[in-house]
């Protein structure tokens, strides 16, 4: 499948943030979106998944089959917030997102199925604490639970907004491994980041605050 963005422009509160960005990502490719604060990385990700309307241009998913026709249906969005409830325990939080999002097992050939909640927690190294309320966890642990959400239901496209914020070195490396596994299973990763992703083959889209320039990636 392909994620294609054409001539994309975005705005926040009427102010243009970026314009004329275009790229096409094939299955297995990753794209790191970099740039200084305020250059529109987060806005770009929100436009990509359809949470914000694009002021110009379009985003589409090609070859996603019946299950993944639009970017919104095909993507996991990991924003600044973890989308977890502090009053619920870790397992309840992940259980809910798994049931609500549906497991949507892979339609792409050789796709890995979604993990169970415990498997996903083991993948982020938190299998010892499924019974703790989410509110008791540290910042890094919360982020790792949010990352585990990407694993409990399958979506081919991951849109990640500073995914490694608050993670320690070991967790960053583990997360790089998860992204690599996702790409090699035919997934697509777009990550806005300040620190290196740890993916050697990732393309880079550099966004500038003053003069954004389009650049084909991958």
């Amino acid at each position: 499948m392909r994620l294609v963005a054409e001539d994309l422009s975005g705005e926040r509160g009427g102010e243009p943030v970026f314009s004329e960005i275009g790229f096409a990502l094939e299955s297995g490719q990753a794209l790191a979106v970099t740039g200084p604060n305020g250059s529109g990385k987060s806005t770009l990700l929100r436009v990509l998944c359809g949470l914000l309307p694009a002021s110009n241009g379009n985003v589409r998913v090609e070859g996603g089959g019946d299950a993944f026709t639009t970017p919104a249906a095909a993507c996991h969005y990991l924003g600044h917030h973890n989308a977890m409830k502090p009053a619920l325990i870790v397992r309840e939080n992940l259980d809910f997102w798994q049931r609500f999002a549906g497991e949507s097992d892979g339609v792409l050939s050789g796709q890995a199925a979604a993990l169970s909640v415990m498997e996903a927690l083991a993948a982020v190294g938190l299998d010892a604490i499924p019974h703790l309320p989410f509110g008791y966890l540290s910042t890094g642990q919360r982020r790792r639970v949010a990352i585990a959400r990407l694993l409990v239901s399958f979506r081919p496209i991951w849109l990640l907004d500073e995914p490694t914020a608050g993670l320690d070195k070991a967790s960053e490396a583990r997360f790089a491994g998860l992204m690599k596994a996702h790409c090699s299973a035919g997934g697509i990763v777009v990550a806005a980041t300040h620190s290196p992703l740890g993916l050697e083959e990732a393309g880079e889209l550099r966004m500038g605050a003053s003069s954004p320039f389009p650049q084909g990636a991958g």
């Binding site: 929100r46 969005y77 917030h81 502090p86 619920l88 309840e92 049931r99 999002a101």
Partner: protein, 221 residues
């Protein structure tokens, strides 16, 4: 969808959920009235259904601002909106409303008969008022969802939601109180206003979530 209902219900009853805030407010309003009105038992019995309804209405407006705001603050709302291809957003809102109603308004309905005793109401009046509250309060939650969705981005939107929603809930209040009186005062009808109340709830069960879904979809930033 069942998962969403169960999650919201759990959140409502756990610490900080605010399910009991409404009941305590309701209790405070109703218990204060007899002291203010004085020991005229006939007068209390006469205004009882109206007071119960007004108390329940205000109490159910109390928790509305958290309906979407809590989800917005922790990022859940983005994901709920993103899933709208799989779960129609209006349906998601409807389920959230039902969970909200079960956690905040159902306790009011259960508490209403007890509080009716403070108002010296007859058993028939208490039963009728509880029944009309049971049928009418979901309408307040549905219409409140639309107000909550409009004000979701505002940091202190609670008062604004109440001001937005209160005029729209007046028909519900009128027919709820009318039906309650109909059960007690002989020539007045009970069934007709009660059926209109039920119709209002069903009508708003469609309009409210659809309006809220549109507001949420276009309110993302």
């Amino acid at each position: 969808m069942l998962a969403l209902f169960r999650r919201d219900l759990r959140l409502g009853f756990r610490a900080g959920g605010g399910a009991l805030t409404g009941v305590i407010f309701f209790l405070a309003v109703i218990v204060t009235i007899p002291f203010g009105v004085g020991p005229d038992l006939n007068l209390l019995a006469r205004i009882g259904p109206a007071i119960l309804w007004i108390g329940a209405l205000l109490a159910s407006l109390l928790g509305l601002d958290r309906l979407f705001q809590a989800d917005r603050e922790d990022g859940s709302l983005d994901l709920l909106v993103l899933e709208s291809d799989r779960h129609m957003l209006a349906l998601t809102v409807l389920v959230k409303c039902l969970a909200h109603w079960t956690a905040t308004a159902l306790p009011l309905v259960i508490a209403a008969p007890l509080l009716g005793l403070f108002m010296n109401m007859t058993p028939a009046g208490i039963g009728a008022t509880a029944l009309t509250l049971l049928v009418g309060t979901p309408a307040i939650a549905f219409i409140g969802a639309a107000g909550a969705a409009v004000a979701v981005a505002l940091p202190r939107g609670g008062l604004l939601i109440s001001v937005l929603v209160l005029p729209l809930t007046i028909p519900v209040l009128i027919f709820g109180v009318l039906a309650s009186y109909g059960a007690v005062n002989d020539p007045d009808p009970f069934l007709q206003p009660f059926l209109i109340l039920a119709a209002l709830t069903l009508f708003l069960a469609v309009i409210g979530p659809v309006a809220a879904a549109v507001a949420l979809k276009h309110g993302a930033d």
